[in-house]
Amino acid sequence: MLRGGRAAVVLAAALALTACGGGGEPGGGEPGGGVYRIGVVTSSTGPFAANHTTMVAGAEYAVKVLNENGGINGNKVELVTVDGQNNPTSLATLIPQLATRDQVYAIVGPVDSAGCEIACATANKLEVPIVSPGAGRPGVLANSRPYGFTLAQPDAANSTAVLSKAIRDLGFTTAAIITDEANATTKAQADLFTQIFADTGVQVVQRATFASGDSSFASQITSIAAADPDVLALAAGPDDAGRIAREARSQKLRATFLGTGALQSGGSAYVAAGGEATEGTIAAAQYDPHSSNPVAAPLLEKAQADTGQADIPLNFAYAFDAVNMVATLIKEKNLAPDGTDIANARRQIQEGLNAMDRYVGMADVTTFAEDGTAERPQLRSVVQGGKFVIDKSAS
């Protein structure tokens, strides 16, 4: 058993190193001022890496602005970023790491629903408030209440009224629906479209399905083109939707494209993937990068100037707001820095988020509903000149 013994030593050493690794004492702030740590859960690889990068930038920008203005009661705010590497199971250890080792007051992220399901449920179990800027899949927080929140309003609640009105305004009579069948979010979108078309008296003349991943869409579009609908509803992720648009136009399909809020909240992905073919696409929206809200407008303008971006992306604004919501609550409830009485502080932040009514920030007005999802503005957007523009006349 000599070899076995050696293996056991390796095992024990590895475990010891990891379990104790980096057990830095909480609240090691610089002298004179305390620190409030906020966790950020990102993913530097996988299909949502770009969204996460934007989210981290928004959170970092929020912290920079906060600290420039004296922090919270003279104490600095600090982000602790952990990287899930697009592996949902690793979140099951990263969240406890933030909760225990880093003593964070709250957690921001991840933006994707699959990541949030595990991260938010774990955080909820450990009683750490967690705000996902983007998770919008129906039921994503089912196992994460009362500590889990998402800033995104799910499609069904956000898009129904907007899209029904758009269909009536434009007088569509026939429609086709293309659905990603391998994805719970897009299947829910397809049900939503079916309901909307039924309510508005639009006849669904063709349905096509695909499974996310490799697909040329040629086959689906050929079937749809044969039915020649007025409108093609895209129950698809933004990247896939863009490719569908390209294929549709290359097969001379004339239909107008219709998308839920998820299409617009994907940022530039849809237009980048679809190019010119996406012009004229109508989608519901819950975020206006050029909002005229008196609180949001100056924040957006300052962010544009500070970051050099012409349009502040959705995930940037949502992460900015998430950090500021937490900071506001810490200030309001006068919570002590450096992880002092952290369990109580977390509970108070949770209660504060749940009680929050009409928080106004960079992304306009947000209220959390009973189930932790956000109630957001309902807007209509249209692709014009290579980007989603909020159609202010329509809302």
Binding site: A208, S215, S219, A273
Partner: protein, 291 residues
């Protein structure tokens, strides 16, 4: 509409065929699987797409893509095959999977994780052939895929180096004794497989209108299904199997459901494997014993 759907299927099959041929060449020469070939195709497509975005003509982008493919295949050969012991059958599989991870991660690091749009070629062209219509991009795909396949046939059949490749794949011991520089032939085989994968990558990008950094493994998988169906090492079998799978997938999506698309291929391949383990067009059972 059936005519159009069949054409869609053939087009899809044509792109599958190129990666599968590349895969097959390496199986023939070394009895080993290069699991980084899909990623090689992906990187080539990204390089091609980036060049096309800067306004360079498609021909230049295509040449750059196949050059990238060839170069990467050589790098993969050196890293995952040349110095990896063939006594452990899993070693080069793991190593090339590792190279695949590296290639994907590098593309994500340099170009980001978003899908990259591949510009159209011959956008104005739209041929109506009665039974089906052919767009400019489709024309380019089908012509180039056919040219490369025929070119490969001619190369393997008519040239000295081609004969050497076939020789190494048939009996490496014998050709080595006859004085064929086996290592150099294997290097050439890898280069060729990379060139085919590079072409396949960009042409698939044209067909799909985009390329994603995470496409690599899927391409490898499809290629694997194709060569198993067609018979390991069989060039003709590979081409036919690719077309069969392309048409089958297209018709499944059009008339059944997209959910069944991969399933139907898996079931077909599974049945073929259990009933006729050498594949539809397998040359001999010898390769099977070794892989």
């Amino acid at each position: 509409m059936l005519g159009q759907q069949l054409f869609n299927g053939v087009l899809l099959g044509a792109t599958f065929a190129l990666v599968a041929l590349g895969f097959n060449l390496v199986v023939g020469a070394m009895d080993r699987l290069n699991f980084a070939l899909g990623e090689t195709a992906m990187v080539s497509a990204v390089v091609g797409a980036v060049l096309m975005e800067t306004g360079l003509p498609f021909a230049v982008a295509f040449l750059a893509a196949i050059a990238t493919g060839g170069l990467l295949a050589v790098i993969v050969y050196v890293a995952s095959f040349r110095y990896v012991s063939d006594r452990f059958p899993t070693a080069s599989i793991l190593s090339s999977l590792g190279m695949g991870l590296v290639l994907t991660a590098v593309v994500v690091k340099v170009f980001g994780s978003d899908q990259r749009s591949v510009p159209d070629v011959l956008a104005g062209v739209d041929l109506d052939l009665g039974l089906f219509r052919v767009s400019g991009a489709q024309l380019v795909i089908i012509v180039l895929a056919a040219l490369m396949t025929v070119g490969l046939y001619v190369f393997l059949d008519r040239t000295v180096w081609g004969t050497a490749i076939r020789g190494v794949s048939d009996d490496p011991t014998m050709v080595a004794l006859l004085g064929v520089p086996v290592q150099r032939v294997i290097l050439l085989t890898f280069t060729l497989s990379g060139v085919l994968a590079g072409a396949a990558g960009l042409l698939t990008g044209l067909a799909y209108h985009s390329v994603s950094p995470f496409d690599g493994f899927t391409s490898t998988l499809t290629a694997l299904m194709v060569i198993v169906l067609g018979g390991l090492g069989s060039v003709t079998g590979g081409v036919i199997a690719a077309l069969v799978i392309g048409v089958l997938q297209t018709l499944t999506v059009a008339y059944l459901s997209a959910t069944l698309r991969d399933l139907i291929v898996f079931v077909l391949v599974g049945i073929v494997l259990l009933v006729r383990p050498q594949g539809l067009f397998g040359r001999n059972a010898g390769v099977l014993e070794r892989v």
